[in-house]
Symmetry: D3
Subunit: 283 residues, 6 copies
């Protein structure tokens, strides 16, 4: 009985957070180990359901991780990177969409539904949600940058109490076009800003953003990020993440989080306890 009483004590510690976040939209960029480890996937799903049941409106954005590269290899389609971007010709784009929308998106959707959610998997091409144009067609092919978000689609889904799970494919808006391969971090940032989300949370395989001294930063602002970036401390895959964070907080999102998705229940820890698990970027 004593254990049980402690248990409900824990439930009650979450009360102030539940009160604070009721009816708020949280955009979650799902990725890294949390997306591949069977144990972490399960915990992620339960975290999302709990958020949903206590009144938070989660919106999931995911990328493709290694699955796209693997499928290209299996299909013996060569592809290469320029400036860290996968050069995406029509054949590659076809695989990108198939893997993102057909495998990964559906896997996440199914995972959430199995735990009791009413999740629906959509692509940025569905109902014209993400409009894009080429970054530089000569250099990267169908790698796109976002020109507009029609967030009404997402709001329609939330209004019907769905949890939207979004694959970052962009629509060209006209013609017979394979669509655009969009960076998932960037897509998450734009979607959060367009929805006026309360929080955006990036699930990564790092404990957060490092400072120049190698220590992890608990909070960062725009200027600090600028400095770290110029110093090359923020580099590689962390760049689109911090940029997406800045885009989101400038667009009205209250806080952007880069958290360590390798920690079990990282999402709940961040949201429902006093213990932050990563770096917070504020306006």
């Amino acid at each position: 009985m004593k254990a049980k009483i402690e248990q409900v004590g824990v439930l009650l510690d979450a009360l102030p957070y539940i009160l604070k976040y009721k009816d708020e939209i949280f955009v979650i960029k799902y990725g890294g180990s949390a997306q591949t480890s069977p144990v972490l996937k399960e915990k992620f799903a339960r975290d999302i359901i709990l958020m949903y049941l206590v009144g938070i409106k989660p919106v999931i954005v995911h990328g493709g991780g290694n699955a796209i590269g693997e499928m290209l290899d299996r299909l013996q389609i060569g592809s290469h990177f320029v400036d860290g971007l996968r050069v995406t010709d029509a054949q590659v784009m076809e695989v990108v969409e198939m893997v993102l929308s057909g495998s990964i998106n559906k896997e996440i959707t199914a995972l959430l539904n199995l735990h009791g959610a009413k999740a629906i998997g959509v692509s940025g091409k569905d109902a014209g949600m993400i409009h894009a144009e080429p970054v530089d067609f000569e250099k990267y092919g169908f790698v796109g940058k976002i020109t507009a978000i029609d967030e009404s689609v997402i709001r329609n889904l939330i209004a019907e109490r769905f949890i939207p799970v979004i694959a970052p494919i962009g629509s060209a808006g006209s013609g017979d076009h394979p669509g655009f391969n969009i960076n998932a971090d960037t897509a998450a940032g734009y979607i959060a800003a367009s929805l006026g989300a309360r929080k955006i949370i990036f699930m990564t395989d790092t404990p957060g953003v490092k400072r120049a001294d190698g220590a992890f930063a608990h909070t960062l602002n725009e200027q600090e990020i600028e400095t770290l970036r110029k110093a090359g401390v923020i580099a590689g895959g962390m760049i689109p993440k911090v940029e997406a964070c800045l885009h989101a907080v400038k667009g009205g999102v209250k806080k952007a989080h880069i958290i360590d998705g390798r920690i079990e229940h990282a999402l709940l820890l961040e949201i429902f306890t006093s213990e932050g698990v990563g770096t917070v970027i504020k306006p």
Copy 2:
């Protein structure tokens, strides 16, 4: 960090219960030590808020406990009991209403509001909610029995997302009438049945209902109750409680609980853990 992870594990253990009880009405008969101990009051309030935030619709019914007797003493109004019922003349009735609606009801309402609820305190006379007639005017005066519940009033309040806190005063429906003093347990049972509540929970100062052998019963059905009552095992103040339980479950309520309100967070233990804390009465 480890402690925090265990903490969110606990949150997640509540998931199946949250899923099950979402949007269901729970009628809570509040009373006993849970209503008088400062520590237990605080915990009760937080339990109710948590229930409310995860989607349960709580409806609180309370009695007057000792406060009525104390106020009668302070006002030097004599009163006596016949068959366990306080004989209620007009002067006593005035005090009953004043104490129930003006002190206790408002105290509970304020308690809940302080913890973040949107509670509203009403009496069974408000908007004609509880209709009553005398049990036996000659013998008991304005002690009433319920003739009808207009549950639409409660539904109106729930629709506006209020937590109704109800004082068990009955309306005579006509004339210049002081109203009726209704047993709070009975009122709770009628209200639960009229609302088609999922659960009714009586908070008491006992571990539940005793069997003939002195052990506490985990579950009871109508026949067992009948037997225990004839044997005098169920007696005194437990009688209106079990009767209210039976009235509720016959009226469509799925389960009636008589729990030990002296245990901290007894409500959450009952609702969100596998560990029951009292006696369950089923149809």
Copy 3:
């Protein structure tokens, strides 16, 4: 038959007023003889119902009159006045709330319900409606001044077609606090302003506000009130009433009335006939 025809003629004389006031909120500060005389109470109730049925949205605010003093005497709790305010310690406050919310509020609510209304009695502490802080705790104890009104609670009740009957108790908003004793006239003025009421009407035991020459004023504006106040013509209990009137009309209420509640059907006379029965204060 002739009498009957004259009768319907009278009904029709009310038509222009009904057209004008349809769907408008009227805040009524109930008090004085209208609250104590059995004959006047009955007429008040019928007046309110008629207003309600022809489309006006009445909101009743009441004070405690002599009942609080009487109960304090009966309970042998001493209390005294400083600057016309009852010094309110915790023990007094408990009685204030009990009498206001438990006796008077419920009596008015029952009175209206008996005549066919769907009235609901609430206190300013319900759902955090009236927020207050001490006027001067050293001097007056729990005598409060209003810091904010959450009028959404009242609107929720009106939306469900209830007639709200409000006891002027203020909430401290946090901690274990007995609440605040608020002047009912002041509370009515704040509530009317927060709701953008069409009219606020104070029912008093005077024919209205006197001018310097002793005659009763039919209309007054802010400047005239200032002059009369400085001259000591407006004094005593009339001060909070005219201040509440000014607060209301500055806050958007079109007209504030101080009427003679000793006249039968004073409310209907004021609202539905060309014959005013008191003093009107305009912006």
Copy 4:
């Protein structure tokens, strides 16, 4: 002041009736002197507005009285009666519609609007409201009997808070057809039944229905009507009225009234006082 107090007393005498009839549909067959006398027209309009403002939903059905005959004369179009029905060829029908929909309907609508209503004049041909077929084309031409009422049209108008004013023209439902000339009493009866009206009231130039002994009947039932009809006591224009009353009450209308429209405010007298002014026909 005394006169004014009596005045509000009268207002209050109407209270029980207002409570009883709130949100109920009353179908009024308007006709006779009430439709032609300038004084009575004015009073009729004010009666209807008052009914409307206290929550009754009036629906007006009117006939053409002498205006059709006059216009036929002015246009030198001969017409004659067979079995009390005006034989209606296409030329006559054109005049019937023009006078009913263009003159009388608009006159009534304007009259109500001038007194503050939001009345809208429609014909039974609008939106396919009244479907009809010939009574006997060989004998009477375009004299129609009702085959169906599409009451949804009327409900749509009531939902937008209009007072519908209906000219009794029937639609043939197909082809290039002038429509049908429908008896206004009959149309009123069908409309009341289709709407499940609370009351139907026929305004006539008689004190009600006579009994065999020449006295006016206060109430009649179906059997009594049958007897009086066979005895020839109910005859002429009273026949379609009592038939329409019977059709209405059999179709669910609670009471049908044949009242003396020559009495000023006959409608209000009937509805809001204890003094009936004609014959009531009950199921």
Copy 5:
């Protein structure tokens, strides 16, 4: 089969227009041959239904054409014109209203209903829709100019999915007044502006507006109209039409069209094909 395939090809050519005009209000001034020729009437009705079914909200305004003059002749009521306006005394006004509201309005309404619409015929006097005052009572009598449009009436009807058919009679707003005879073109212009219609279309018996060289103008702007008017090229009945067009486009209507109603399906040609059939007036 080939013919059928061509047929659906045609359906599809309308797609871009359907997409563009969905949920937009189109005000149609109906008149000329389209209102008198049996063949054209039929085609007009089907055009309106099609517009309605693909999501356009048509509002029809009609005039009286020759029917008023004919009826005045048949009734031997003399009338004459001053400055192109029919001098309208009370006797003439009565006929104007009767013919407009009773014959023409109902004929159009019936025509539309027979083809499957839910049309409702109203006059500008219904529910106080068109408020007017005399142009110059001395000279023209009850010829009115519009002072205000209460477009909420039309919106109420559209909300219930009616097609409003409006007779251009104006209300004086008070007293025993026959109403005003309003120019139908002018009424259409005011109604379109008050509703923020997408288009206003005048159906005439000309191919459009002539330029100085006698050729028909495809588009005109305000300045060109001014020039043509001063030059007397725009004259007679075309003046109120172009003025109504200018009033509408200045009031927010996107395009005003003066089309040749003698061409079969002129409305659909204008709306659903690339081929314009008259003159367009733009802001």
Copy 6:
């Protein structure tokens, strides 16, 4: 101009069909050449948009055609057929889902959105829409049969005015399960029945169902189908189609159509012209 007039004549011929099908759900099983030919795809898209714009609610269900086989070949995953069903192990199932949900579903969705629709691509696993169990796990692996449809998901999407495009994947409802490969024809039949669709239309590469004499049948009923099936005339891929038709019409769908999708605009021909283009199966 003449051509244009003929053109609008064609538009009008569709009127009766538009009236008849307004607000009705049509389930379209998309497949065959209509899904592969660039020309036919384009025409299919425009057909669907037109249906949508005139008020029909289309729901698209698609299969995978040859794309699944091709992808299995490219990935060098062997697979074979037993009883005409592709034996589906976990590896094959992964490809089935990826191709259905990621390539084909998104291609159709994008196609519709490019033509102006608000289409959303979902799988039967989204929000638990299609529940399934193995047909015979030993023999066929993850080939599933439908146990239940949660049509509320589809209704939610239609309520937000989306066109749902559904991939026939079934959910096992629990555990870590790859889902089920469902026959698309069967899925369409179940979905149509669950929605109470007006029509279900199968787009095939045949002119319809053949009779025993080799002629194509315009209509068939259950008994005829039974006979043809026993005679082996209905065989192969036509079997699930006729079974789905029977399931749909028994479940309340009014008509099931098997049409020749190779004919341009076959859908519109079937829906909007008098010329049927295949076989109709009626209850």
